[in-house]
Amino acid sequence: MNATFKISSKVNLFFTEVGDVTFFAIRFFKQVFTRPFETKEFLRQCYLMGNRSLLLVGVTGFILGLVFTLQSRPTLMEFGAQSWMPSMISISIVREIGPVITALICAGRIGSGIGAELGSMRVTEQIDAMEVSGTNPFKYLVVTRILATTLMLPLLIIFGDAIALVGSAIVENLKGAVSFQLYFNQVFEALAFSDIIPATVKSFFFGFAIGLIGCYKGYNCNKGTVGVGEASNAAVVYTSMLLFVIDFIAVFVSDIFFEI
């Protein structure tokens, strides 16, 4: 009896949360197109999220390309198919690994940052202070951040992909004596629009998810200082989960449209 009650209340909580997030998202869409626009804050957030994450994304992407190539080489060499390395690496990086890894890193860096920042602003009444100062805090804090993550993440992913491919090309160059020109020739030989476009569209959704969950958790934080930690933690956990769900749906949908 107790157990069923627990489960039903958990289920209840889950749906309440999902509904809450949905309302939050609707609120975002209602406010994103109405004046006044917080352009300066939006640009500042873009800078903080885009430029400041670039180093992290770049280093991770580079190592990813390096390691991925090193690990795949022996297997492909067994088949005598090492000349397929560029195609294989580029397709898997551009389609899947690049976007997902970059998004996960950004969920960790940006998502938790937003969760903690808005959470602490909430508990120290800074959000209330904004409200009474005649600035719509939702617009100023939430809309700008969600918009910034949505627009910056695709760019970060493009940089990440490019840097990962450079890393991979270096390995191929050193180990397989493949020139950079040949490597990238083969990369573009292998890639098709149906690889890049769905991946880019998908990354907008990734960015939106990171911003949305981070802001939702932070904006609705309400248990004092403990709540801030929880908000930041929950932002990362739920965002990561949501990223995979989005990824699954994206692959599903692009499957239908592009008949991969």
């Binding site: 006044p36 920042e117 602490s120 602003m121 120290t124 009444e125 800074q126 209330d128 202070a129 904004m130 409200e131 009474v132 100062s133 005649g134 600035t135 719509n136």
Partner: protein
């Protein structure tokens, strides 16, 4: 507005209800704030003082009752009118609530950014900011970040920010909490000075008896969600009611 009749309160709460689940925080609370007076609302922690003041500026929705500020019922106002009305209210938050990511200058600029019509021209902003900081004696801190300030300085900057639009009504939420007695006294002196300079009406929420004694013209004791007792500091300290006596021990 200056022609307003003395008897009409600038701020009036009638039968305010606010429940959180089964917890009846406000249970028919009444309050009138008249022009130029310092009204202190005292109550234990968790008695609903902060909830009351947040309902007052529209940060929370009351479950019942009416809130009238300068004759306007704020629950019936749209966002735009509410924002306009809020420019006439200064709010000092409990923990100062300075924006961590902004310098003092930017903190003070924040209330101005959407209300350029009050200060006339955008270029005036710097002048206004400096004036507000001068009022609290912190002109030198203009380019510092909030985490470089001491607790007392933060409170003063927050006060400057609340005052920058020259509001007619000031709301203080626990203005002295978290401060040492000397700094607290400084803040109280500052509040009085401001009240004199600008002739504002102030509503002060506190559980600090010293603060209440120094600043109050009139007091309301908030117990169990209602205005349990009303009167001057003197009157209330002489009361024989044990519930009232408990406040002044």
């Amino acid at each position: 507005m200056k022609t307003m009749i003395k008897e009409e309160p600038v701020l009036e709460l009638k039968n305010l209800y606010k429940h959180f689940g089964n917890n009846k925080v406000l249970n028919g609370f009444n309050l009138q704030l008249y022009k130029g007076e310092n009204l202190v609302v005292m109550g234990k922690s968790g008695s609903g003082k902060s909830v009351m003041i947040k309902c007052l500026v529209g940060l929370m929705q009351a479950d019942g009752g009416s809130i009238r500020i300068k004759g306007q019922d704020i629950t019936s106002l749209g966002q735009r009118e509410l924002d306009l009305l809020r420019t006439e209210i200064g709010f000092l938050f409990q923990g100062s609530a300075l924006y961590d990511s902004m310098t003092v200058r930017e903190n003070l600029y924040f209330p101005l950014r959407r209300h350029a019509h009050i200060m006339g021209r955008e270029e005036e902003a710097e002048k206004w900011i400096r004036e507000a900081l001068a009022n609290v004696g912190l002109e030198h801190a203009i380019d510092l970040m909030p985490d470089e300030l001491s607790g007392g300085m933060k409170r003063r900057v927050a006060l400057a920010r609340a005052l920058i639009l020259k509001p007619k009504i000031m709301l203080y939420d626990e203005p002295t909490t978290g401060l040492d007695p000397i700094t607290a006294k400084e803040i109280i002196q500052l509040m009085r000075a401001i009240q004199k300079t600008y002739g504002t009406s102030s509503l002060i929420i506190t559980h600090d008896v010293d603060c209440a004694r120094v600043i109050s013209n009139r007091m309301i004791l908030l117990v169990d969600g209602v205005n349990y007792a009303e009167g001057t500091f003197q009157e209330l300290t002489q009361s024989s009611d044990p519930k009232i006596k408990a406040f002044f021990k």
